[in-house]
């Protein structure tokens, strides 16, 4: 990376229009992320249409701001209502809610905002150090390596759907199947179009994403919409004490890099990062008995980790064009729609865009800490807005988003079908991320597979031909057997007297 491109990126991200998008994105993301049951993936999916007509770089900045804004927002409802916005905010309920019950909600929100900020900043530094070398490395990939990399990502995300691997595989296979609908780009053959002209161009994965994440999630939330609203505790002081900071600073600093590394790994994301950092801190704490009772470090550590993971997850997305999680898959979809093709060439062809994004993350984290601390009262009031009013609004936004994809209301039927399907998947406990990831990478995966086979005159040996390919196969096998290995280790531990 040249210093000049970095500086150019910094200057672009400091342009007033981009600062405005950072603040708007962070604020909107925080609001959607705060809604119980709706996380960053839904926030990005629902707010995709907001980026229409924007300069690609501004759209990218806005999208990223929505993403990490939603990560911040998710923990607000964890602390105040004991209801996480999404998986990565679950760990924030363990000690955040007990803190709120003790009248320390304001302190909990402040420490979580500061921890998220520090975690985010650590991760941005990691991004600067790691992204370019990884992009350069990815340039060595041929079709066989790309196919295997996508296979690794899919297998990792399936094997991390702990306890429901079969459903994870089914979810992934359905995604791959959907990606085959339409004209095959290599041969011109129509596949699974059932004579419907509208399907000849394939199913737009953004419709699937908006359907599952927006419509499906709202329908799923209808299951519990009439439950008695949890009592919200008083916010109290909105800044933490010196003692609380002393207890939190090292857990925050340890969890940042940990979360970042977990975020970079395919399949893992904020949920795993925050859980691992929570259990790690509990294990090394001198007062583990205080965890779960309102220990401030039990909140600070996972908050730092999940925000760092959200930045880390941008590395495989931007350097290789491979999303590592459901939310980054949604982001990839949105980027492709904006005409931005993430991958190693993005760093070669448009370094300014990448470094503008990186710098905007720095600025965004500062903006979010201000939003989350200064506007605590406003955010708490927004949380008071009844879900019964907000969910219909989200449904309308989902329809608008879909319409703007092809300017055709026919797509609404697909949207409703996938929304209902998303509801069924949630009810039957199917992981959604493998489906979303598979439908996005499916077409590329198939094309790379066929190009690799074609280049080797039909021999499968091409998938074992280079050290990178072999390394990827080994990692895929490891990721598939990882749950079995973990089970064995746990059994052995239990059987020990």
């Amino acid at each position: 990376m040249g210093m000049d491109t970095f500086m150019e990126g910094l200057l672009t991200s400091l342009e007033p229009i981009n600062i405005m998008w950072i603040i708007i994105g962070g604020f909107l993301g925080t609001i959607v992320g705060m809604l119980p049951g709706l996380g960053p993936a839904t926030a990005v999916a629902v707010l995709i249409p907001v980026t229409f007509g924007m300069e690609p770089v501004s759209a990218l900045i806005l999208m990223a701001a929505i993403y990490y804004g939603a990560m911040y927002g998710g923990s607000r409802s964890s602390i105040l209502l004991n209801t996480p916005g999404d998986g990565s905010a679950i760990a924030a309920t363990f000690d955040g809610y007990p803190m709120a019950q003790k009248g320390q909600a304001g302190q909990a929100m402040a420490i979580s905002a500061v921890a998220s900020f520090i975690g985010g900043v650590i991760a941005v530094i990691g991004f600067i150090l790691l992204a370019k070398p990884l992009a350069d490395f990815a340039l060595k990939f041929g079709p066989a390596e790309y196919f295997l990399l996508m296979l690794l990502t899919l297998s990792a995300i399936v094997s991390l759907s702990m306890g429901k691997m079969v459903k994870g595989f089914i979810s992934m296979l359905l995604g791959l199947l959907l990606s085959t609908v339409g004209i095959d780009t290599q041969s011109g053959v129509y596949r699974f179009t059932f004579g419907i002209p509208h399907l000849s161009e394939g199913i737009d994965f953004l419709i699937v994403i908006i359907g599952i994440y927006a419509i499906g999630e709202v329908l799923y939330n209808f299951l519990t919409i009439d439950e008695i609203k949890k009592e919200k505790k008083k916010v109290g002081k909105i800044w933490f004490s010196k003692k609380q900071w002393k207890r939190s600073k090292w857990p925050i600093l340890r969890s940042g890099p940990l979360g970042f590394i977990i975020g970079v790994l395919p399949g893992a994301g904020g949920s795993i990062a925050s859980m691992i950092s929570y259990t790690t801190e509990k294990q090394i704490s001198k007062k583990p008995e205080e965890f779960g009772e309102g220990a401030v470090e039990g909140l600070a550590a996972p908050e730092s980790a999940n925000n760092a993971a959200s930045v880390g997850a941008m590395i495989p997305l931007l350097t290789m064009g491979i999303p590592g999680s459901g939310t980054t898959a949604v982001m990839l979809g949105a980027l492709i729609m904006l005409g931005i093709r993430p991958g190693p060439l993005l760093f070669e062809n448009d370094p300014e865009m990448v470094w503008t994004l990186v710098n905007s993350m720095f600025i965004g984290n500062i903006a979010l800490i201000i939003i989350n601390i200064l506007l605590v009262g406003l955010l708490v009031k927004i949380l008071d807005t009844p879900a019964k009013v907000l969910y219909p609004i989200i449904l309308l936004l989902a329809f608008i988003g879909t319409y703007t994809l092809s300017y055709s209301a026919i797509d609404f039927f697909l949207l409703l079908i996938f929304g209902y399907f998303g509801l069924l998947m949630k009810v039957m406990d199917f992981p959604i991320a493998p489906l979303v990831l598979a439908i996005i990478v499916g077409a590329d995966m198939e094309q790379n597979f066929r190009m690799a086979i074609l280049s080797s005159n039909g021999s499968l040996g091409v998938f074992f031909a280079t050290p990178i390919a072999i390394g990827l196969i080994v990692l895929t096998l490891l990721s598939l057997f990882y749950p079995l290995i973990v089970k064995k280790i746990q059994k052995r531990k239990l059987s020990k007297p």
Binding site: V189, R191, F192, F222, V389, P392, A409
Partner: protein
């Protein structure tokens, strides 16, 4: 609930069989490998069939275990809410282009709010439906330059 539990794997198995038949009947490619367009769909449908069978037996094994989420799906006003949302969605699709974005959205959002938020809160429902439809029309059509009907 049992039928619901078994229904999903049976549905998946049927999908895999239909896709397999559809895949082997696909025309061969005139360019490059004639079987190129078939590999992926065939591979996926075979794997889906295998995992569908495994899932079927998993569900048979825990057929008597209760799943609260399935129960919730059929209790209280949940089925009504879901059903009405989908029906209103279809209605919105049908009137969207003929009535135009603004009127269709006011009707759709208003009806949805009355169903979800209740008739008692009619003032809020009307204000939100009017205000949000107008704001979104203005934001998308005027500020973002999205062409809405």
């Amino acid at each position: 609930m049992k039928a619901f539990k078994i229904g999903m794997p049976v549905f998946l198995i049927i999908v895999s069989i239909v896709c397999f038949i559809g895949a082997i009947r696909l025309p061969k490619a005139n360019l490059g490998d004639p079987y190129g367009p078939l590999y992926f769909p065939i591979g996926i449908s075979v794997l889906l069939f295998i995992f569908g069978i495994v899932y079927f037996f998993q569900e048979i094994k825990r057929i008597n275990k209760s799943n609260n989420k399935i129960t919730e799906l059929f209790t209280g006003r949940t089925p009504k809410l879901i059903g009405v949302t989908i029906i209103l969605g279809i209605g919105y699709t049908l009137i969207f282009e003929s009535l135009g974005f603004l009127i269709a959205s006011i009707l759709f959002l208003g009806a949805l709010l009355f169903v979800v938020n209740g008739i008692k809160n009619w003032k809020t429902n009307i204000i939100v439906a009017l205000a949000f439809s107008f704001i979104s029309w203005y934001a998308f059509s005027e500020l973002l330059g999205v062409s809405l009907p």
